[in-house]
Each structure stands twice: as structure tokens, then as C-alpha cells.
């Protein structure tokens, strides 16, 4: 979604509701969980920083009052080093919200208060939601929210968002502020005397000289932002029409602070704010002795090199085995159910209406064979994978993987943080590509996006597991993953060398494991799966119908001819497989499902055995090529949005070439070696 889309969506929400609440806070404190509770929507949540990279906008209703809710990407302060933080910053400043709810982590109050203090300092109407109270209690941390509220002069509400505790109180507080137009008397953070004097000085000059302060901020707010050396506002002072007096004064003060304190004013303010937040945390919380919990112990094991790497390896193997067995089990089950109980009725119905003719046969492609193919090779594996991904995300294990793999990622021009969107790409490439917004440079984004398109998404996993592992044996499925991995590393390495620039350093907050809540995991799986069904099933049906009509009318064979040189000679696949690969650009698993539909039509429903149609080597090559070439139209359009059409076109052509070259080489090698 680009900026204009947000704007219009927020405008719409503002018109439909009485007032708007913005949810801000540090990464991974539960903003999206609160958002989901308030709106009943399904924003993706997980236990790692940086899930929300764009605004989530929704609506909540409480006792006949409609409220707009904006969920912002996590940020530690109003400064920004990456795109997601910039989005949060802009939205806060542009001030679409009537109340700014700052969600803080009760287990790490001190650092979380930084953003609260900054927002209060700038005069925003702040309500603090002290989240994760349950976790804090477990860690033997007691936060006195009343006392904190007294110190800050703004409402502080204890909350456990996962269970919904405190949400109602939060809404009531916000409504109260809005309805009674309560002017909050926030207590401004305390700085050292000289800093206070400088702020007052600058505030005075600004209010005299600056006619219009951006975003309707107060003179004091602008003074503080300038002392924080905020580039945007410093530039504003230099460029606008209020004469050189203000800027000169600001510069003089900045130099003065640097001289007295021996550090940059921004650092000084930051230090003093940290000092104050430390004082506050000290006053309002009691930290008791905490028994190291099992999940924390596990977390430490997952990070320690000696145990962490074996755990990572075991994890990968476990995921593969679960996919293989559980997916296979579901696949067989769905297939049997369809063939026994549904398929006969559909056939009966279609033949009854249309009679035995080409139209009926074509319809059968879409509504019988197509859906059966989706049930047996798409859905089972995708469902299992989504479940595992949701579980892994909620434990926070991805964070540990990022930590362990940072040095490897540097070799391919990235850093550990970028492994998280890359792993997420194994679910679906589209959100993964959006997830690269947490990265700081364009170079990193290009490399990460290219690699993401090479990550086998759940649709491709369905093909690898449902066709290659199932018919050609698990070893060949593993081989595809290994080749893909190797290709990914080589491509990453090549890009790292080829693209100018350097990889930036990793700075990532680490969070101990949290025990996932079953309901959250199931809900998340369901949201993703629902999205898949809604988008995928119609495309599969339409694709099958199209292919069916081509097949039934015999046009299919004309179309295969131009491609036969590459498909038949170089890749060694049956000519129609080439058509299926073309269709795969709509949705990846479609390639296989159409192939299977083709087999079903040709050999009857009980055959559903691809081996009648292609040999093991062909199935392997088919899987390999599908895995490597550009994922699908949705991914391409997201690439265009994130990187521009030139880069997107380059990535698309590159991966297609890559797939044909690698697939062909593998085919020729297997022809010589006779391994299958």
C-alpha cells in the first residue's frame, strides 16, 4: 500500500468514526495484538520485531461509539533509520489521531518509557497502555501503574493484550478524553538546568519568529526537536521564511551544549532522557528475584553456538519430516474424500445438465479435476506449513536464527535481520517482500527481494512435497531444496559483489521465547489460509477451465509447439508441461495442479498418479524449474511497488533464465549419470 492509499483509507475512517486512536510503541510490545482485539481484524502478529511495516487501519465500536484505529510500525523513538520507522514517524507527526496510545512492555519499562517521554515532550495527547503485565508478573516484576500515571500526568492502563485484559479500560479512557475534551496535564520530562534554559530560550525565539510550525506543533516541541538535531526540522529552520535569526540562535545553542557537555546535543538530550526514565522506572517498579524459566533456558540454548546450530539443523529436519508425513497423510485423506463423496455428484450434475460433450468435459476440468488437484497437492501442505510458521513465529525462534546466521548473511551482502523476511518467504513471497522495509538500504532490499523470490513459498513446497517427494522419493525433494539453497547463496554472493555499497550493521533487539498461545496460532493460520483459499481456488478453477478448453479443443498441441525446443529437448519434459509452467505464473501450485488435472482427465480419477504421465526424472526437473522461476504475478506486482518496474523486470527475467539454465543442466546431468 503506498502513501496515498493510507491517506485515503485514513480519511475514510475519519469520516465514518467520531475519533481516531493511533497505537504506537517499541517493536514487539503487542501493538498489533491490541489492534486485533479492538478491531476484530487479523493483522499479523508474532514474537519478533518488525512484523508491521506499514499502517494497519481499522475500526472499533464501543457502546455505539465508532473509533478509527491506526496501528503503526514499531519504533524506539521518532528518529528513523528504516522505512517502517519513517512511516511511524510521519503518521505521528501528521497527527491523524486524536489520542496517541503508547503501548509499553512492562517487562522492560525503562527503555520503553523513552518514546513515552519523547511524545509527552512534544505535546501529543498520550495514553500509556502498560502491556505484558502477565509476563511481568511471571518475571516477578511489579509495575505500579497508578504511580507511573501520577509521575507522567497521563493515564496509564495495565494490560495483558493476549487475553484482552485492560482493553476495555483503555477504550473507556480514550473515549473519556475525547468526549469530555479532557485537557491532559502531562508532566514534562525533567532535564538538567542548562538544557532546560536552552529549551526555553529557543522556544521564546521560535514563538516570536516562526509564523507557522509544521504539523501544528508547539514552539516548545520544535525547540526540542531542533536540540535533538532532527534533520527534518533543522532543515525547516534553514529553508523557511523566518529569517536567519532563529537558525543562528539554534546553531549557537547546539554548539554551546556540545562545548559544555563534550557530546552532541542529540546524545546529551538522549542521555538525560534515559536518566529520567531510569529514575521513573526505579520509582514505579519492583523487580524481584526471577527464576529462569524453561523457555528462557531454551532460548539461551538456541543462541549458544555449540547448541544453537544443532538445534537449527534439527528444526529444519523436523519441519521437513512434518511436512512429508502430515502433509502426505492429509493429502491422501482429502483425495479419498473427494473421489468417494464429492466428485461423483459433480460429474453427475454436469453430465445431467450439459450431456456428454466438450463443454461438460471442459467444466469437469475446472470443477472436478482442478479442485481435486488443489485438494491433494496444494491445500494439505500449505495448511501444515502455515501452522508451523505461525508456531515458530510466536515462539520468537526466528530472532535466534537471525542471530546465528548474521555472519553468513554478511557474505551475501545482507545482515541477520534480513533472514526473517527471507524465512517468511517460505510462507508466501508477497508479505515477505513487503517485510524488507525493515532493511535500511536499497542495496539490501534488492538483494533480499531477489533471494526471497528464490525461497520456495508454501505453493512451491506443495509441489516439491506433493509431487517430487511423493512420486520420485524424498531424496529428490531434499535435492531440490539443496540446489535451491546453493543457487540462492551464489546469487546472493554475486549480487553482493556486483552491487556497489556495503552491508550495514545489524542492530536488533532480542526477545526471549514466549510460549505461543494456541488460539493465536490457530487464528493466524486460519487468516492466512483463508486468504489463500479466497485467492487461490478461483484462480485454480479458472486456470483449469482454460487449460481444459485448450485440451478438449486440441488447441493445446499447437501452443506447445513453439516451446518444444526448450521444454522437450533441453528440459526433457512432456510438451504440455511447458503450458502448465506458463500457467504457474498466475499461482505457483497451479503448475502442478494443472499437470495433475491433465493426468486425471487422461487416466481417470483413480489414477491420480503422475508416474503414468511423467517419469521420476521429469517430475524432479519440473519441480526444480517451478521452484526457481519467478513466483507469481502477485509477487511481481509487489516487486514493482517496492523496487520499481526496472528492477522488478530484471529480477523476473533473471529468475526465469536461471530456472531454465539450472533445470536444463540438471536434466542433462541426470541423462548422463542415470541416477534416477
Amino acid at each position: 500500500m503506498n502513501k496515498n492509499n493510507y491517506e485515503s483509507e485514513i480519511q475514510k475512517i475519519r469520516q465514518e468514526t467520531s475519533f481516531t486512536i493511533a497505537l504506537v510503541g517499541n517493536p514487539n510490545v503487542g501493538k498489533s495484538t491490541v489492534f486485533n482485539h479492538l478491531t476484530g481484524l487479523g493483522a499479523v502478529t508474532a514474537n519478533y520485531p518488525g512484523k508491521t511495516v506499514a499502517l494497519n487501519v481499522g475500526m472499533a465500536k464501543y457502546q455505539n461509539i465508532y473509533m478509527g484505529i491506526i496501528d503503526l510500525p514499531g519504533t524506539y523513538s521518532l528518529g528513523s533509520v528504516s522505512e517502517d520507522q519513517f512511516v511511524a514517524r510521519q503518521e505521528i507527526f501528521e497527527g491523524h489521531a486524536n489520542v496517541v496510545v503508547v503501548i509499553v512492555d512492562a517487562t522492560n519499562l525503562e527503555r520503553n518509557l523513552y518514546l513515552v517521554l519523547q511524545l509527552i515532550d512534544l505535546g501529543f495527547p498520550v495514553v500509556v497502555a502498560c502491556n505484558l503485565m502477565d509476563l511481568a508478573a511471571k518475571h516477578n516484576i511489579c509495575v505500579n501503574t497508578d504511580k507511573l500515571s501520577e509521575y507522567l500526568g497521563v493515564p496509564v492502563i495495565p494490560m495483558t493484550a493476549t487475553t484482552g485484559e485492560g482493553i476495555e479500560k483503555l477504550i473507556e479512557t480514550c473515549i473519556n478524553i475525547f468526549q469530555h475534551n479532557v485537557k491532559m496535564k502531562a508532566n514534562l520530562p525533567v532535564y538538567g538546568k542548562d538544557i532546560m534554559d536552552h529549551i526555553n530560550d529557543l522556544e521564546g525565539i521560535i514563538s516570536q519568529n516562526v509564523k507557522q510550525i509544521p504539523f501544528g506543533l508547539s514552539a516548545r516541541a520544535l525547540a526540542i526537536l531542533v536540540l535533538e538535531q532532527d534533520e527534518e526540522f533543522l532543515n525547516y529552520l534553514t529553508t523557511s521564511l523566518h529569517g536567519p535569526a532563529v537558525y543562528d540562535k539554534a546553531k549557537a545553542i547546539l554548539e554551546e551544549i556540545e562545548r559544555t557537555h563534550g557530546e552532541k546535543p542529540a546524545i546529551r538530550i538522549s542521555r538525560e532522557r534515559h536518566g529520567y526514565e531510569g529514575f521513573l522506572a526505579d520509582k514505579v517498579q519492583q523487580i524481584g528475584v526471577c527464576q529462569v524459566s524453561l523457555s528462557t533456558k531454551l532460548w539461551r540454548f538456541s543462541l549458544e553456538p555449540v547448541t544453537g546450530l544443532p538445534i537449527l539443523l534439527a528444526g529444519i529436519v523436523a519441519v521437513f519430516l512434518i511436512m512429508y508425513y502430515c502433509g502426505g497423510f492429509l493429502s491422501a485423506g482429502f483425495d479419498t474424500l473427494w473421489v468417494r463423496f464429492i466428485s461423483p455428484y459433480i460429474k453427475f450434475l454436469i453430465f445431467a445438465i450439459f450431456g456428454h460433450n466438450t463443454i461438460a468435459n471442459t467444466l469437469l476440468w475446472g470443477f472436478d479435476a482442478g479442485i481435486q488437484a488443489a485438494l491433494s497437492v496444494g491445500i494439505p501442505y500449505i495448511l501444515i506449513f502455515y501452522l508451523m510458521l505461525a508456531f515458530l513465529e510466536d515462539t520468537g525462534y526466528l530472532n535466534s536464527i537471525a542471530f546465528l546466521t548474521d555472519s553468513l548473511m554478511h557474505k551475501i551482502g545482507l545482515h541477520g535481520r534480513s533472514i526473517i523476511p527471507i524465512i517468511a518467504g517460505a510462507g508466501c513471497n508477497v508479505p515477505a517482500i513487503l517485510g524488507t522495509r525493515v532493511l535500511t538500504t536499497r542495496r539490501e532490499k534488492i538483494i533480499a527481494c531477489t533471494l526471497i523470490t528464490l525461497v520456495p513459498c508454501s505453493a512451491r513446497t506443495a509441489i516439491i512435497m506433493g509431487a517430487v517427494a511423493f512420486f520420485a522419493g524424498w531424496k529428490w525433494a531434499v535435492a531440490i531444496y539443496l540446489i535451491d539453497f546453493l543457487v540462492g547463496i551464489l546469487v546472493g554472493r554475486a549480487l553482493a559483489v556486483f552491487l556497489p555499497g556495503q552491508s550495514s550493521g545489524l542492530v536488533m533487539e532480542m526477545f526471549p521465547f514466549r510460549i505461543p498461545r494456541l488460539s493465536t496460532v490457530l487464528k493466524k493460520t486460519w487468516y492466512r489460509f483463508k486468504e489463500f483459499i479466497i485467492i487461490a481456488i478461483p484462480i485454480i478453477a479458472i486456470g483449469s477451465l482454460l487449460l481444459g478448453s485448450l485440451y478438449e479443443t486440441k488447441y493445446l498441441w499447437y501452443l506447445t509447439r513453439p516451446m518444444s525446443l526448450i521444454v522437450e529437448n533441453w528440459l526433457g519434459l512432456p510438451a504440455v508441461a511447458g503450458i502448465c509452467l506458463l500457467f504457474g505464473i498466475l499461482r505457483k501450485e497451479l503448475a502442478l495442479q494443472l499437470l495433475l488435472a491433465l493426468a486425471i482427465v487422461q487416466y481417470g480419477p483413480n489414477v491420480q498418479n503422475l508416474l503414468n504421465f511423467m517419469n521420476k526424472q521429469q517430475i524432479f526437473i519440473f519441480g526444480l524449474v517451478t521452484t526457481l522461476y519467478i513466483p507469481c504475478l502477485a509477487a511481481i506486482s509487489v516487486l514493482i511497488k517496492e523496487l520499481g518496474w526496472k528492477t522488478a523486470a530484471f529480477i523476473t527475467l533473471f529468475t526465469i533464465t536461471l530456472a531454465v539454465v539450472v533445470g536444463g543442466l540438471a536434466n542433462q546431468a541426470l541423462n548422463i549419470l542415470h541416477l534416477i
Binding site: Q229, I267, L303, G308, S407
Partner: protein, 220 residues
Amino acid sequence: MATKNQEDYLETIFHLESEGKTPTTQDIAQHLKISPASVSENLKKLAKEELVKHSPYKGVALTLKGKNIAVDVVRRHRLAERFLVDKLGLKWEKVHEEAHKIEHGISKVVGNKLYEVLGKPKTCPHGNPLPDAKGHIKEERSYPLNTLQKNDKAKIVKITDEDPKLLCYLATLGLMPKMKIRIEEKAPFDGPIMVRIGEATYALGKKIAESIWVKKYEQE
């Protein structure tokens, strides 16, 4: 001339400051094992003499005058420790308390003589640097963060990265000079380092870790 009591205060504040804190009344009381009430009483007196700056919420800071005295006390303390170990043969783990009693009685003349007799030592028996007679204290050597080992405690001395945006970002997280950190974990193959500041834990890549210079920090 500062009294023994004043010297103890200034010395304590100096140590707390060099650990990267802005000491509070509470910190000082804990350190000197006396009640916060009498600490704040005494701090007021010190402030009146312009040896410290004391502001509520913000804690205590030494003035230049106060710091000069503090460094001088530290010099005498470390000389006394040297003397007790080198000349009297006391065990170095035991001399801190004894030196604390002696330090206040050492005059400038005796101090300089001790320094000569002890062979112009550069550090105390614990390895901490000895301030020179003019009150200059040589900063202890600092090392890039990535050279530290797991469970090491350190104080950030400087950050050499030039990017102002990154510096501000790091400062927001509490990664700035004078802050104390602890190494929680090191990833394999020159990977990132996990450090703890307060309740927060961050993974820092090698590149960032190399630009953060720290001084290992141990209890004296």
C-alpha cells in the same frame, strides 16, 4: 582543604561516575554504607562548597574543583595500596580497606616521596591507572566490543561510527558512552554479539560492535 569525610564522598562519586552512572543519593548511601538522609545532608554541604552539583531527579556530578580533589584522593589511595603490597608484603586482595584508612593522611610531600620510592608505578596492584601529581588520569585502554568474551562487563567509552542518524538511533537504545553493558552471547563465525543494557538485550553485528569501544569494568 577537604576533610576526610568530604574526600570519601568525592572519591565515591568519582568511582560511580567512572562506572558510567550519574550517581544518586541512594547509590552513594549504598556505597558508603550510611543512611540516604545523612548522604543528602552532606551533599548539600558539598554543593555549597561547589565541589559537586546536585539536582533532584538528576543525581550528583563532580565539579572541576571536586574532581581535582577526588583524583588526588585516588592517587593517594593507589599509592598506599602499592606501598602495602610492594613494601609490607600484604596480599593485594586485602589492601583496599587498609589503603582506605591511610589515604587521607598522606600529604603532597609524602605522596611524591612514596611515588619515587615505589619506583614510579603506573598502576595500583589491581591494575588501575595511577593519576600523576598534576591530577591527570590516563584513560584506561579501550577495546572494540567484539574483542570481549561472554559474560564480560564493560563500559562504553566511545562510538566511532560517523553516521549521525545511526548514533542517535543507538543512543535511543541506550548505546552511548558511559553506559554499562554485559556480553550475553557471541554468535559463531565472527557473528553478532548479544549485549544487555538494563532489561533490554540487543544483537549487534560485527561492524557495529567494532565501532563501539569499551573498557572492561570490574569491581575494585
